[in-house]
């Protein structure tokens, strides 16, 4: 998968260069936060960069779409207007920033959910342990002269 990633990226990159021409420079500049996130993400599967990239791309798409459309129809598109518009950059980088925020926010939500789930499991298991002790006695904790079961 990792081996196929670089040639695929090269092919997609070349296709985009052909399609977007100067718009490709805009794309590179717009996806700069995603590129940075890719390189700093040490987690397996690079989930941080994927989230940042998805949010970054979602914010870039409104500005990028006219360039792609012009490229497909072999029309000239003046990229300088887009590049010189500060609101474009604000939207694009805000999208990347929203990606980072989403990462931290989801982690807290997940922690809360997981803790709740674990506590529930522990309570269930402790209830089962109590029933086992009631049925089989305290010696189930340390049965005399018995070796642990092989499956454990």
């Amino acid at each position: 998968m990792a081996k196929a990633f670089l040639p695929l990226l090269l092919v997609v990159g070349l296709a985009l260069v052909v399609l977007l021409q100067f718009g490709f420079i805009f794309l590179l500049l717009a996806l700069l936060p995603s590129i940075v996130a890719f390189f700093i993400d040490r987690d397996p599967g690079k989930p941080t960069s994927k989230i940042v990239f998805a949010c970054n791309l979602a914010a870039t798409m409104p500005s990028l779409m006219p360039m792609i459309d012009a490229g497909i129809k072999f029309r000239h598109y003046d990229t300088s207007l887009t590049l010189s518009n500060p609101s474009t950059w604000l939207i694009v980088y805000s999208g990347a920033a929203a990606g980072w925020c989403l990462i931290y926010l989801c982690r807290y939500v997940a922690r809360f959910t997981v803790t709740l789930l674990y506590e529930y499991n522990i309570t269930m298991l402790e209830g089962q342990q109590k029933r086992l002790i009631e049925e089989w006695g305290q010696q189930i904790k340390h049965p005399p002269g018995m070796s642990p079961p092989p499956e454990l």
Partner: protein, 711 residues
């Protein structure tokens, strides 16, 4: 907690341990105890001091003149015939009586044998015990010894022949026809009014109280309780001794002791040793020469005695002295000139015999001085075995030395270490050793039986006499030994020395401390007694002691160690005495027919309840206990046994416990896993990314959708 605790304590501990539900059982236990407190089984019909509603013991009138070594005598009354004067011999517990002889003597009437009226176990009022009692008709006249002590004049030979020898010979002949011996013919046990009458002889092993001078040498050498039944040949010998006593008075034997007389007999022969060269009336020459023979086969019996009494004279030659060796054998500062004397001498110091055998001195002496090639070869073979054994195997070494002594004196008793016995005396010897708590000797006797050492003695008897027929008593004991041998390998409950005691002595009552005050001989008797004892047993006694277990196993013919196979998965239950007791007692109840024993079943349930703590599953335990309590009311132990012993709850419980244990450990590890901090971090991060990705991809899709829609 199950074993070795006082009854009740286990139950209370269980009740305390398991809280609410156990309270319910505590109530059940109280109910069991309450039942036992109120349980009063119907009393026995047997009257105190009376046998068969006919023979009554007058405990207020002791008759010490009839006391025996192991019996006390009291006056007795025949309620059917009050004019008939009787006396009762009350036997001590744990002693052996001659039951075969009792059975025979009860049926015969002979004017010169004291009539045996009856015998059996009697519930005594003082002490409050059940004992074996023998009722005899009271003899007329005085004891011969007392009469002779009082008599000042010379007794004429004709008087001796007509009033002493003839009646006693006739009595011995009668006994010989019935295939029993008297074994107790001596001046203190012959009663004389107008003729001699033989006194009692069945309350103890044959020859147990016989004075040494009234016994032939080989019986004199045996232990008093191990002389065996023998034959009437010993009675004829005793008759000759009695006549010598009559002719020469008590002084004739008072200067002797058993060892001195034995050495004299071995050196000079019986005739010379017993008569001590004293003059006797000429009429008795034949009598003494015929009667005082060392070899029982050569000894006069009624066949010769009757014609002699009728006046026939045989001109019997004086028996030759024993054949002497060229040179005597020296052993421990003493000398032996004959092989028999050497066997006797050897037994004075058992530990030194091996030395003489190993050195080859004995083989050489037999070959050179005795000039007996055949015997020398046999002794040499055994000597080689003794040398090979060295000091390794003491039992085998002892057996080899026993063989040597038997080879030297094949007609003598079997001598093995401290024991000196005849085959048919093993049963009474065992009982005596047990009563005296002689454990070392008992162990030796057990080895003797286990290794079939008596077989060599049998071989020698067969080789010694081609027409040898095994006497009834020996045959009976051989059958017992054969049966016992397989059980001697085991030492668990129901086996061991106690089992040996009951197998060898089927008439021995159960000597369990619980039942000591009763004469319990059969399984129904034992069950009935235990049922009656149940109210008093519940708080203090072991459910099954070694005596009771051995008695039960013997009566139930259990040949292999008691193993409760259905409880094998739970060793605590399988080895629990209360459960083993239930198993054995239920078998006994089945064998005894239809007997309802509610006292015993309640007591057993009470003893088994604490043992069930070994069952892990609480619900199973509750179920079993509830079933036991329900079935206790039935009075049938088989129903209890079906619940506790034969159902396969133990293995199911064990399997369930293993599975539960595995689950418990698994749950423990899962709980610990859930509580680990880094696991929560990892899991929340993983889950956070999943949520984040979902939202981000959602946003991207929304953006694409919006853009494409715009286009």
């Amino acid at each position: 907690m199950i074993q070795g605790t006082a009854p009740g304590s286990g139950i209370e501990a269980f009740a305390a341990d398991t809280g609410g539900v156990a309270e319910e059982f505590k109530n059940e236990v109280l109910k069991l105890n309450d039942f036992l407190r109120r349980y009063h089984p119907s009393a026995t019909d047997a009257k105190h001091d009376v046998l068969q509603d006919r023979y009554r013991i007058e405990l207020s009138t002791p008759l010490p003149e009839f006391d025996g070594k192991t019996t006390k005598a009291y006056a007795a009354t025949d309620l059917a015939e009050p004019s008939r004067l009787l006396f009762a011999l009350i036997c001590q517990p744990g002693t052996v009586q001659r039951h075969r002889a009792i059975g025979i003597l009860k049926t015969i009437t002979h004017q010169c044998i004291l009539p045996l009226a009856s015998a059996g176990s009697v519930q005594l009022s003082r002490p409050e015990e059940e004992r074996f009692v023998i009722f005899y008709e009271r003899p007329q006249g005085k004891k011969l010894s007392e009469l002779l002590a009082e008599h000042q004049h010379q007794i004429t030979p004709h008087f001796v022949c007509d009033r002493i020898i003839a009646p006693i010979a006739s009595a011995i002949n009668q006994l010989a026809e019935l295939d029993i011996s008297h074994g107790s013919i001596n001046p203190d046990n012959i009663y004389f009014s107008d003729m001699a009458v033989l006194g009692p002889c069945v309350s103890e092993p044959c020859g147990y109280s016989q004075p040494f001078y009234c016994e032939p040498l080989e019986r004199m050498q045996a232990m008093p309780s191990a002389k065996g039944e023998g034959s009437t040949a010993q009675d004829y010998y005793a008759l000759a001794a009695v006549v010598l006593y009559v002719l020469h008075g008590a002084k004739h034997f008072t200067e002797m002791n058993p060892e001195l007389l034995a050495r004299l007999i071995l050196r000079e022969g019986v005739y010379n040793a017993m008569t001590r060269q004293k003059e006797v009336p000429e009429i008795f020459y034949d009598f003494f020469r015929g009667m005082l023979c060392q070899n029982a086969d050569d000894r006069w019996s009624h066949r010769y005695l009757k014609p002699w009494l009728e006046g026939k004279r045989y001109n019997v030659l004086s028996p030759p002295p024993p054949l002497e060796a060229i040179r005597p054998f020296e052993f421990e500062n003493a000398q032996a000139s004959t092989r028999r004397e050497l066997a006797h001498l050897f037994c004075t110091d058992w530990d030194k015999i091996a030395e003489s055998v190993r050195s080859g001195k004995l083989t050489q002496w037999v070959a050179v001085s005795l000039r007996n090639k055949d015997l020398a070869e046999k002794v040499a073979r055994i000597s080689r075995s003794v040398v090979d054994l060295g000091f390794k195997n003491e039992v085998q070494l002892t057996e080899q030395i026993m063989h040597i002594i038997l080879l030297l004196d094949p007609n003598g008793p079997i001598r093995i270490k401290n024991l000196s016995l005849f085959m048919d005396g093993i049963d009474s010897l065992c009982a005596e050793l047990y009563a005296n708590k002689a454990h070392q000797e008992l162990q030796m006797l057990a080895k003797f039986i286990e290794f079939n050492m008596g077989n060599y003695w049998m071989e020698l008897q067969r080789k010694g006499s081609p027409n040898y027929t095994i006497p009834t008593a020996v045959n009976t004991i051989l059958i017992k030994l054969e049966r016992l041998r397989t059980t001697m390998r085991y030492s668990g409950l129901g086996f061991g020395l106690e089992r040996m005691l009951y197998e060898l002595n089927p008439e021995m009552p159960c000597l369990s401390p619980l039942l000591r005050q009763w004469h319990v001989l059969t399984l129904p008797q034992l069950l009935t007694r235990l049922d009656r004892l149940a109210p008093n047993l519940s708080k203090e006694d072991e459910p099954l002691d070694r005596h009771m277990a051995a008695f039960l196993a013997s009566r139930l013919s259990i040949q292999h160690e008691i193993r409760l196979h259905d409880l094998a998965s739970s060793p605590t239950l399988a080895t629990n005495r209360a459960i083993i007791a239930l198993h054995l007692l239920s078998m006994a109840q089945q064998k005894s027919g239809d007997m309802r024993l509610p006292g015993l079943t309640h007591w057993l349930v009470l003893r088994i309840l604490p043992a069930l703590d070994a069952v892990h599953s609480r619900s199973l335990k509750q179920k079993i206990k509830a079933m036991l309590m329900e079935q206790a009311k039935s009075g049938y132990m088989q129903l209890l046994s079906d619940i506790v012993v034969t159902s396969n709850y133990a293995s199911a419980d064990q399997t369930g416990f293993h599975q539960a244990w595995s689950l418990y450990l698994m749950n423990e590890s899962r709980i610990a896993g859930y509580r680990k901090g880094n696991r929560i971090d990892q899991e929340s991060a993983r889950f956070g990314f999943i949520i984040g990705k979902a939202l981000a991809y959602g946003a991207l899709l929304l953006s694409l959708f919006t853009v494409f829609r715009g286009v």
